[in-house]
């Protein structure tokens, strides 16, 4: 079988990846496998971040070859202002250097998260008590709003009015807080 990447050399290596539960099989020659980052495993064996950097490199394969060079340069310049980690370093190591990296690399992260977390990119879980700030209130408003919709549909207008007042109150809270922060 020929290599699926260069279509020239014989494929001597076989890789299986499970992405979002879908198994992808790929046959490569040794040269392409090395180039695409499939063979970066250290001597002491397999580790998760190598698997990850394999995933990231796999990702860049899908960007057309022509676009690839310019994309690469652009990506290379991304660097976290706080910890100085570059995006290519992040891809190689498979680890973020600090919390700020998440913001710096933000526009490139969705495809990575989607791959690792079965298509998900947004947090839905716990919000920390202190750090969460308005988030708790915002979440509460959201749940009141859907309650309000339901009450309106069921024509329970009296109850709806009470819920609407609660929403206004909470929205006011947030506004007051923001004003407070600015002053």
């Amino acid at each position: 079988m020929e290599c699926q990447e260069c279509h020239k050399r014989p494929a001597t290596l076989h890789f299986t990846q499970v992405i979002n539960g879908n198994k992808t099989e790929i046959q490569l020659c040794e040269v392409c496998a090395k180039e695409k980052g499939y063979m970066t495993y250290p001597e002491d064996g397999y580790s998760l971040h190598n698997l990850l950097s394999g995933l990231f490199n796999f990702d860049s394969n899908h960007i057309g070859t022509q676009k690839k060079d310019s994309q690469f340069q652009q990506v290379k310049e991304l660097q976290c202002a706080r910890c100085e980690m570059t995006f290519s370093e992040f891809k190689r190591v498979g680890k973020f250097g600090c919390a700020e990296c998440y913001h710096t690399f933000s526009s490139h992260l969705d495809p990575i998260f989607r791959r690792v977390h079965s298509g998900n990119t947004k947090h839905r879980g716990k919000i920390p008590k202190r750090k969460g700030g308005d988030l708790h209130i915002k979440k509460q408003i959201e749940s009141y709003k859907s309650e309000l919709q339901e009450l309106i549909v069921n024509e329970e207008f009296e109850k709806a009015a009470t819920v609407r007042d609660k929403i206004r109150e909470l929205e006011m809270d947030i506004r007051n807080k923001q004003d407070g922060d600015q002053s």
Binding site: L52, C83, S118, T121, K126, P128
Partner: protein, 354 residues
Amino acid sequence: MTLEHFMNEAISPWMRENGPDSDIVLSSRIRLARNFADIPFPIIANQHDLEKIREFLQQEFEHLSFQDYKNFEFISIRDLSSIEKRVLVEKHLISPLLAQNDGTSASMISNNEQVSVMINEEDHIRIQLYFPGLQLTKALNKAFELDDWLEEKVNYAFDETRGFLTSCPTNVGTGMRASVMMHLPALAMTKQINRMMPAINQLGLVVRGIYGEGSEAVGNLFQISNQITLGKTEEDIIEDLQSVVQQLIEHERRARTRLMEQSGTELEDRIYRSLGSLKYSRIIESKEAAMCLSNVRLGIDLGIIKDLSRNILNELTVLTQPGFLQHYAKKTLTASERDVLRATLIRERLQLEE
């Protein structure tokens, strides 16, 4: 050191209690990854920053008690001998990585060893909590309370969109890894577990062997855990895990019944031979010991062996790990010396029951 005292060390106090479904589920674990907002993650932080974190947590939390957990013991990994480190790893109280980062890493361990907070592992903070048997919801609630308790003093790295920010993208969001340790001898014997793994993977869960190298399950002990941490609530993740574990329990029970019905004598033979090996061996490798222990435990669960306690599997599995053996001997042992000591300890432990 007497054997009884030594065993008391091997078995964490919480392990003695029997949880729900403890014939198949040994333990439930919740691990939460958390970081300080303003300090680079351990992979890139300098010694000074990591030292600061260590000192801060030691000052704030040492000697504090959290609810019914009495004092946390603050252990600096650099103060431990290599055998002591290994013992903590074998008890799953610290991770191999924490032992390796021994310059600045530490662990706060509760007296009953149910809770450990690892400091400067891959993330600044890793909260780890065990419950006996299948008790994921209880473990999660407790872990959240502990998390809130820490958050009173720690400014967590949290983002509205991405959730708890972690060093590795595989942990971002909830930062939670929930796992269940299961003894699945009948599913392993009949090779059914291999056929079930792909379906389990599709649900975003992973099955791994424990104590073995790679994915091999030594002693038929498997760990099932969530792989996805982003985009699902902690409660949903746990619900999915719980339902898969419950199905595995049912399959395992059914497979046990079928084995008894269809090849009862062969099964009994296997169980008694294993008991014989444990009772009379003078040299036993860890792999053989683990297999025999699994068979004997199955014999106890099936009522074939009546005069042994169930805890024997948990106890002897930990007790016969290389680190523990050397801890007992108080010196470094070669592999063949360990095999002799392992056989001796198992024999003596079984005599305690008689």
